[in-house]
């Protein structure tokens, strides 16, 4: 009887060991499946992020020239990059060069008129009545636009007028009335203004060069 019981216990113990081993294998299998799934997911992610290889062209094909209309805008675009390591933006430098040329040309134009005025002899027959008429009419315009008329000097073809406008708007109002009013403009010759000088009180000072009608201030 004892021997039988011993056998039964032995068989039960062996069975439970087999069941435990099977469960362990099953768990390991599940864990392995999970790892494989993770690996596959990583592989897919890597494949998505891979970029095509970069091809460095040492010589542009003949058919890929920039259009003629674009080339002047690029300016020095085909020139070598600066070797100081700084970033060179050809479009920006071309625009800056154009702005500098424009600025210089505008300044030269103004200086040429100032020089012409300074060099002109005074022709009394024109200068006196013109100055007088200008003073009278510009004084009237300046009153309506809140501007202060300063010195007026006329020579033989050009008058120089100093004026201080109470504001930028007053300046626009004064000019519109004096030079472009269809019924009552003061002066019908060419006019050139110095760049407006902004005073601390907000007023704007300008020198106006008025050319005799039929002449041109810029030659």
């Amino acid at each position: 009887m004892r021997a039988k019981l011993g056998w039964v216990v032995l068989i039960v113990l062996a069975g439970s060991a087999v069941v435990r081993a099977y469960r362990t294998e099953e768990q390991e299998l599940l864990a392995l499946r999970g790892e494989i799934a993770l690996l596959r997911e990583r592989q897919d992610r890597l494949a998505t992020n891979v970029r095509p290889p970069i091809v460095v062209r040492t010589q542009a094909p003949a058919v890929e020239r920039e259009p003629d209309a674009v080339r002047p805008l690029l300016g020095t675009a085909t020139a070598a990059e600066p070797d100081d390591g700084s970033t060179h933006d050809p479009l920006a430098s071309s625009a800056a060069a154009r702005a500098a040329r424009w600025e210089a040309e505008a300044r030269r134009n103004l200086e040429s008129v100032q020089s012409a005025f300074a060099a002109e002899p005074v022709e009394d027959a024109w200068a006196r009545p013109t100055r007088s008429a200008l003073h009278e009419r510009l004084a009237e315009v300046s009153r309506s636009s809140v501007s202060s008329l300063g010195n007026i000097e006329c020579r033989s073809t050009i008058c120089a007028v100093d004026v201080v406008h109470s504001s930028a708007d007053a300046s626009r109002q004064f000019d519109a009335r004096a030079f472009t009013d269809p019924h009552d403009h003061v002066w019908n010759g060419p006019v050139m203004m110095t760049p407006p000088k902004q005073n601390p009180d907000g007023s704007v000072a300008v020198v106006m060069y008025l050319g005799r009608e039929g002449t041109s201030l810029l030659k």
């Binding site: 002047p72 134009n109 626009r172 269809p182 760049p195």
Partner: protein, 131 residues
């Protein structure tokens, strides 16, 4: 191909707009030319894009007769719309055919602007701008 120096440009008058917004119905476009079909004189202005300083504007116009004339002037401005120069006003002395008004040369400050305006009597025609 564009040159580094600015070439002459031309625009039909249709590019512009009336000085007073209420005058749109007064101006009729025909082939790029603008006619004043209202019964009184109205002003029409055209902006002239620039990339450099010195500009001589030519305006082609037709006035039917001396009582229905057209007068034009050019104006340059700074980048903040202060005035930099005016050409003075010119009108044609010959009527019934297209005439070119040559306005005085203007100086446009760097980054400033240029435009021209014309006062058109009834039936006067503003045709084009060259500068």
């Amino acid at each position: 191909m564009l040159s580094s120096q600015s070439d002459a440009r031309s625009f039909p008058a249709f590019l512009g707009q009336p000085q007073a917004p209420g005058d749109y119905t007064c101006f009729v476009n025909s082939g790029g030319a603008v006619f004043n079909v209202c019964s009184t004189t109205r002003r029409f202005c055209v902006t002239l894009p620039v990339e450099e300083s010195t500009h001589a504007i030519e305006v082609t116009v037709t006035a039917p007769d001396i009582n229905h004339n057209i007068s034009c002037f050019g104006q340059s401005i700074t980048r903040d719309n202060l005035n930099a120069g005016f050409t003075g006003t010119q009108s044609p002395g010959v009527f019934g055919s297209a005439q070119v008004l040559r306005l005085a040369t203007l100086n446009v400050p760097n980054a400033g602007g240029l435009y021209a305006c014309c006062d058109l009597a009834p039936n006067a025609v503003l045709r084009s701008f060259n500068y």
